[in-house]
Amino acid sequence: MSWLVALWETFTNPVFYKLTLSAATPLIFAALGGVFSERTGVTNIALEGIMLMGAFMGVAGTFLFGSPWIGLLLAIVCGMGLALLHAWASINFCADQIVSATALILLAQGLTGFLLEPIFGQPGSTPIFPKIPEVKLTFLGTDSFLYRMIGSLSPLVYIAFLLVIVSWFLIYKTRLGLRMRAVGENPEAADTLGVNVFRIRYFGVIMSGFFAALGGAYLSIGELGQFTENMTGGKGFIALAAMILGNWKPAGAMWACLLFGVAQALNQQLQSNPTLAISSTTKPLFNLLPFVITLIVVGGFVGRTRAPAADGVPYEKKG
């Protein structure tokens, strides 16, 4: 019975919805990145590493230049740089994309851990810095349910949802989007018709760096104001799972990310629920929730979704 009470308390609490949105936001960014890369035919499991890089550079930029907005810019530039490496290896040199991406994840872990000391003078985590200021929708009335739900969020949350629409438009309603889809499905045919396969793929992969870095920066300078070592904690992979569950479509990925956001928010709210009063030794078990859901979803649904036909297959020009 206490479980039902706890669930009721959770669902009637505006904080639950706020937590869902803020947990989904970094996933939405990264999943959109995955969509861009994989739609052009390059798998990118390095999202995790790019997010980590974005998270670190966001704080580093804030620290070095005194403004979280410049931090955000630096995060994006570095994220795109890391993605460029992946593009170079997998497009020009036909590298195994999974292995190359694994290397980039390690590189991001190594570099961010390594640079902590020379830049901030301490290992493990950075001091706390000012975040990107939250948008206050005070006209909703600061005591209202709606205000406590969506009234004081990081601007990046709104940007994430806006970018879902922009991505949908770009992929389905523009010539560039048509070319991206063509290159991801049948690069030979696209090449014959005069589409530059390499250039389109570079665009897709670099955009994935842009998005994933935004997701990472959200974690550090959007939410926490701090970088801690390996703070992405598997979110890049959850985003990848969301992209698959969303059938490689921006809107689909967004819904999947919201589902994982719900899992995350539920986990947090139930752990601290006074009615359940969960002991501190049992709490680690609750942290399993998002990962178990991802596993079930990927194992159960992946057969029913369809990847772009040329996803992960290097393209070599004949003759």
Binding site: I45, L85, A89, S90, I91, N92, F93, C94, A95, D96, I98, V99, S100, T102, A103, L104, I105, L106, L107, Q109, G110, L111, G113, F114, L116, E117, P118, P123, F198, G233, G234, F237, L240, A241, I244, T281, T282, P284, L285, N287, L288, F291, V292, T294, L295, V298, G299, G300, V302, G303, K317
Partner: protein
């Protein structure tokens, strides 16, 4: 170009380039003028060599660290042979170690000659079941093993943390299990100062030999390699691809589980929350450097464990130990994109790899 020469040359050049890049980074974090920075670089590498191979204790430390790495390297390399990328050796190692420790703590009634093999089998089985979940999902639903094994890693991490901080805690408030029964402790071959080296290294090398025999001398190995080379042709030729993928993951997981089990039985004598600490992920670099060959993997493990033990010493000179992760990532990147090296060395008869 002869493939054999190429298989040796590519990892060696990759290691060389990665050390070069690491040197640039070390020069960059150094302080003072040009000359002082080069002295700093020299000090750093000298500290690394001394820490890894300086004296008997250093050698023993390197070999102790090498033992689990051989096994996780074999785990990942064996998977690669069947075309599966088992990135979950970390979780399989943790689950293997936890289950084996659970068994070993309660095994005081057995004599050692039964308790030791039994504990080893329990640990290998646990690792193999954990990896088998991913193998089953890949074979039955097509779920990519990279995503599923990573999720299984996080699940294993949370389960083991919960176990050693709650129900399986030794009662002293540290996240660790009680000590295993005396009968399940692996005997030591050598000891020097405060360092003890167990028979684990011999078990790891024996595992490499067994994997070599499976891969090159049995029809099972032939089928597994065939599936990795071309699953469609294999299926057409009458090989059951699903069965082989599950089997490969199970063997791969058993190796990773053994890695964790030996850490508990031969080194820590209990399960710690930090027992695995990245050794499963190191398996990826090791398999790639060793080119998925069991004997190549032994040499690659020596290299990586040398870097690791050496990096501890390097920290005293003032180089963060993360430099090793950076070195490893560059090696993996270059081995993955081996055409970068072949076109760099102009070994490729075709017009390089570049567009």
């Amino acid at each position: 170009m002869k493939t054999n020469l190429r298989r040796v040359l590519i990892p060696i050049v990759s290691v060389f380039i990665s050390l070069l890049v690491a040197s640039v980074i070390i020069l960059w974090i150094g302080e003072g003028g040009f000359g002082e920075r080069f002295v700093f670089l020299g000090d750093a590498y000298r500290a690394m060599l001394k820490g890894a191979f300086g004296d008997t204790a250093a050698w023993m430390d390197t070999i102790i660290k090498m033992t689990p790495l051989i096994l996780t390297g074999l785990a990942v390399g064996f998977g690669f042979r069947a075309g599966v990328f088992n990135i979950g050796a970390e979780g399989q190692m943790a689950m293997g170690a936890l289950t084996a420790t659970l068994f070993a703590v309660n095994a005081s009634s057995f004599p050692a000659f039964i308790a030791i093999p039994l504990t080893v089998i329990v640990g290998m089985l646990a690792g193999s079941v954990w990896a088998g979940i991913a193998g089953f999902l890949k074979a039955k639903t097509g779920a990519h093993e990279v995503i599923t094994t990573i999720m299984l890693n996080w699940i294993a991490y949370n389960i083991t943390n919960w176990a050693v901080s709650g129900p399986f805690n030794d009662g002293l408030n540290n996240p660790r299990s009680p000590e295993i029964a005396e009968a399940t402790k692996l005997p030591n071959i050598l000891s020097s100062q405060a360092t003890f080296m167990s028979y684990g290294i011999l078990i790891a090398i024996a595992a490499a030999v067994v994997i070599y025999v499976i891969l090159y001398k049995t029809s099972m190995g032939y089928e597994i390699k065939s599936v990795g080379f071309n699953p469609y042709a294999s299926e057409y030729g009458g090989i059951n691809v699903s069965k082989n993928i599950i089997l490969t993951m199970a063997i791969s997981g058993a190796l990773a589980g053994l890695a964790g089990t030996l850490e508990s039985m031969g080194l820590y004598y209990r399960f710690y929350g930090t027992l695995t600490s990245g050794k499963g992920f190191d398996g990826i670099s090791i398999a790639l450097i060793g080119q998925n060959n069991p004997f190549g993997i032994i040499f690659a493990s020596l290299l990586i464990s040398g870097l690791r033990t050496g990096s501890n010493q390097m920290q005293y000179v003032g180089v963060p130990k993360h430099i090793v992760t950076i070195i490893q990532s560059i090696i993996i990147f270059l081995v993955a994109a081996e055409r970068i090296i072949t076109s760099l060395l102009r070994l490729d008869k075709r017009k390089g790899g570049a567009a």
